[in-house]
Subunit: 104 residues, 2 copies
DNA sequence: ATAATATATGAACAGATATTCATGTATCGT
DNA sequence: ACGATACATGAATATCTGTTCATATATTAT
């Protein structure tokens, strides 16, 4: 029940890097926007009112950390959350935040 | 089961801020070090081979975001993870990272 | 081939951030 | 009161990061 997490230095670095990427409101918005289903770059930019360039830059970072995956469909590229671990992570965190100020 | 997390802008900001603080290897080390039990500032600094000053600065940030709590016991101040949400969060994330490269 | 659409990349810059150094404050023993 | 120990704070700085602007690449239609 209590994992007493003794993480390797390597894991610690990966974890920090992951958190660092999640630690930006713009990137978080992109991630949560793509959470329900894959979205094209243009759709993301338009919906979140961000420049296409900025969205691409952020997607590149998220891709690099394997937080999202991009798939080309003709002219557009659709991005989705990379896997269930990432989705679960996001949902878990959102839940924690929610509970944090719902509780006593 | 699927919360379809529609977070408020405010929640999103809080979440991003929390992630941002977790997104630094030094702070993460401090947090995981304090996870099993409260530790004094000096103990943290010595064990993690960080300057006392640096540890204090980071603890201040973590305190500000209510990720840790400090309690004075005579001359020393012991810091512990603020509450179960934070502990769970950290353990969850550590588990995700662990699974991420354990799996196929 | 050319043009148009969709996305990616590189350079540049302003603002943020981690770390160090110097110094301040609090608590205890004498 | 004084010195010693433990922690906190402020300023300074070098590095990093998010964003924009300009431009490149890829795909499709004509």
């Amino acid at each position: 029940m209590n994992p007493a997490p003794s993480m390797s230095q390597h894991d610690m670095t990966i974890l920090a890097e992951t958190f660092r990427l999640l630690g930006d409101a713009t990137r978080l918005r992109i991630l949560f926007f793509c959470l329900p289903e894959p979205k094209s770059v243009g759709h993301i930019a338009e919906s979140l009112e961000l420049s296409q360039t900025l969205v691409s830059h952020h997607l590149r970072l998220l891709r690099g950390a394997r937080l999202v995956r991009g798939e080309r469909r003709s002219k557009q590229v659709f991005y989705e959350i990379a896997d269930n671990h990432v989705s679960d992570m996001l949902i878990d965190m959102a839940t924690h935040i929610d509970e944090d100020h719902t509780e006593v």
